[in-house]
Symmetry: C3
């Protein structure tokens, strides 16, 4: 049967089922070294046509040495060249020496696996309202719903079943995956990528008690997502009550993350899956939040702070702090306290026994005292 | 370029980019005082045409004093009038005195920012099945999929890419934002608002072990969402196994919340983002769950209980209780215990030293005892 | 008004509003006993046409005794027969005796509530790309977007607003509920069910620091979901960086769960709502993760391990271990430590007092020592 699922056929770097690998790139070692800002050892004219692993690379492919433990494999790999750190030995092989092989790896993956984007235009089955401005080379898939007055930059890709409400503005080179919704009046910068099912600009969670129940506070602000932000799947960023919920330039947000109304997230932050940031919190630049972290409303977190997974932050955090736990405390101190936690029952027993022993000792001494 | 993103142009109360503010309301101070149930000081005939902040309000706008700390600004604001609590000074300005300025603020925001709803009918690109009943003045957007036998009340708004399965019933004045799915047989009351991507009536998570793996227990119940409920984005409310998962009247649920099968949530509850309520739990009226709270299955939580963020509730909770932590305990007591947690390593060391000192003391005393 | 919401009319087993109950099954007690692998007591020819509860069953219906506490009701129920464990008394009624009444209940529910599936074909309003292969008896609803080169097995149901990207392969008897997205190159086995809004194959969360900000690591792998997997609503399973994120055969995943890139989840696991599994973690067979559990990246969890709700697992877990807490520790030990937590303030005070008492005792003893 033609449609039997071959799920034993895995994806992967060298697999024909890997969707990103069917492109046709050919570069000399010298060209790659310049691209990576590295230095050639061996033959700069060697031609590279693909990527492989140390174990599985074939002729014409370049591979990586990231972990020094595998240094000996450099001598035996069939790869045409190896990207390696300055400390590694070449065994006489062609190599590119770089300071950061992990970053170089990411760059080569990008080079060898990016397909050229081909604009598809506004496809049949896409719904486009009135007064919509669409830049050049757009791809808008069937089932996308674009409301009146939306403005869209150049080279934007909008997948199926995306909804853009009235007045949304998208910059250039934006990609919105299927199921994304961007609510009224929200603004996205250039090179923003939003994965499937994520919601930008849902109402903030604000109600005033009116003696009987809850009176809704209208949420009339918006969301601004700055350039080069990427947001994962099924996350939510709420619109501000009055002004703007901001996601700063270059920040990366994972799946199922909640950013509440009025938050201001700085540049180049990393926010891991299922973290939640309550209303009006402010994160500085380059803050890292681990998975399932909770940040209480109105908290201010300084630049470069790191909050470990599952922590709960109930107060302001100094720049550069490394915290963990609920309530969050300095990470190293918390590890030490957490290591004691299993001994609590024993400690309580010991304490009770010491109390008895002390009482006995005191009893013995008291008569002597009385005699004095 | 016309489509450059002006994301330095923020949303907000006074901003032209704020989507909610372009409406045309004009009221006298007397009319507003009656609307708010407050009392005029100054000129009841003063005309108010908008809202502003203490700092930024312009002529014709009304503003608020919520925080007494800013009382002096009442004397200097350019606003035409100020809403204030009875304790504040008017500085001879026009004012409306109310007991709850925060609620009054919400009400005025509603008054000044609500646009009149204009019914758009069933738009081209919406898919409507057989035997569907649609009330008057509906707006049904492109990409909405409405299955056979659905019944829809008056003045309902169904955005793009909403899916209503067979037999769904919606009351009057319901708003379903894009990406919402309501599964077969689920019922929503009137004035229910559900934000984007939320799923009502997915199967409950129920499997019986059959010796080899897991046998699915059919989930044949439904979900009932009562009047005036609002649910945020990307939340999930599962259908009951046999009967009904209920969300009580007036309850407000935030984003990314999980309500499992058979739960019964009372009236006027507040459930903050990323909270999870396991199967068959029962919440009373006016219960508050903080963000990322977990409620274990079959738990019963009394009226007006409050559970602090990230807590884990593993047993029944009395009405009015205020709990926090995992396992949850009275909040004040937990704060005290949590404050000791950082001292655990020190406590363990002290305990060990006390043990040695005690042994030395006992040793000293024993010979004396023997001599006796 | 025809569209008034009758939300006092609950769903349920015997309710006409229950969507699953309108089917027409008639079996003898003997036939049902064979279906369940049980033993008839009483009249094997008795005809059963439906299911009911002990309290509410009517003539012709079969009911269950799961909880021995209700054993006396067997004598008084109006049901035509009772499914019961070997230890229960029949009171002379017709019965089927089985070892596992809970499983038998699930099986009878399936038998009596499953409607025959009727294929609807590719409905108007579904978007199907080029070179798509669709097996027999498919139902593809309006608003579904199926990209070029997708291959779909027999008897597959694809609801409205589902998006299948290029190169997706689905096995037989797959059901994808509305709002599901399956990204490029992902493979689903047979009898896979995915509830609404779940995203399969969004990019894994991988960035390399480049000195200024974050450089995206292309995620060129895929996701493979093996046979008989069921995934709840609004969950996310990320595609691997290079190879495959795997969900093993028969595993059941609840709502709002995050499975990060490169994870390998074994067969027959149970993963409860809002759990998060970080990158490259490996779960064995039949592992249970409670709600809101966090598993740190690269963790290996052995077969049959159970992790209690809200736990945080920061290291490898042995097969069969039962852990809880953050950081996770053996569950019984943690319960004991958690029970001491409320006494920490008292313990610290006691410790301080003991210190003073000890100092006083030592002081008293020291002069004596000096005299020696």
């Amino acid at each position: 049967m033609v449609h039997t699922v071959p799920y034993n056929k895995r994806g992967g770097l060298l697999s024909s089922s890997s969707p990103g690998t069917e492109c046709d790139v050919s570069k000399t070692l010298q060209e790659l070294a310049e691209y990576l800002g590295g230095q050639v050892k061996g033959d700069p004219a060697a031609v590279i046509t693909g990527l492989g692993t140390l174990d599985n690379a074939v002729e014409g492919q370049i591979t990586f040495l990231a972990n020094p433990r595998y240094g000996a494999k450099v001598g035996t790999t069939r790869a045409a060249a190896i990207v390696m750190p300055p400390t590694a030995e070449t065994f006489g092989r062609n190599a590119i020496v770089v300071d950061n092989p992990y970053l170089a790896f990411a760059k080569l993956l990008t080079l060898f696996t990016s397909r050229p984007r081909s604009a598809k235009g506004v496809m049949a089955g896409a719904f486009v309202g009135r007064d919509v401005v669409i830049g050049k080379d757009a791809s808008i898939y069937p089932g996308a719903c674009i409301a009146d007055g939306v403005r869209i930059g150049d080279r934007v890709t909008i997948h199926g079943n995306v909804s853009l409400y009235e007045g949304v503005v998208l910059g250039d080179d934006v990609t919105l995956h299927s199921g994304v919704s961007v609510r009224e009046g929200c603004l996205l910068g250039s090179r923003v990528t939003i994965h499937n099912g994520t919601i930008i600009g849902g109402d903030g969670f604000g109600y005033a008690p009116n003696g009987k129940g809850w009176f809704k506070i209208p949420q009339i602000g918006n969301v601004v997502i700055e350039d080069d932000v990427e947001i994962g799947a099924n996350s939510t960023v709420d619109r501000a009550a009055l002004e703007t919920t901001r996601i700063g330039r270059g920040t990366k947000i994972d799946n199922l993350v909640q950013v509440a109304h009025n938050c201001d997230i700085g540049e180049d932050c990393i926010i891991v899956a299922q973290a939640g940031i309550a209303g009006s919190a402010r994160l500085g630049r380059h803050v890292t939040l681990g998975g399932q972290v909770a940040i209480v409303d109105h908290t201010v977190i300084g630049d470069n702070a790191m909050i470990s997974g599952q922590s709960g932050v109930f107060g302001n955090v100094a720049a550069g702090a490394v915290l963990s736990g609920t309530p969050a405390m300095p990470h190293q101190a918390r590890l030490k306290s957490a290591a004691i936690f299993p001994y609590l029952p024993e400690m309580r027993k010991t304490l009770a026994k010491l109390g008895s022993r002390m009482a006995r000792v005191e009893e013995r001494l008291e008569p002597a005292v009385a005699i004095d």
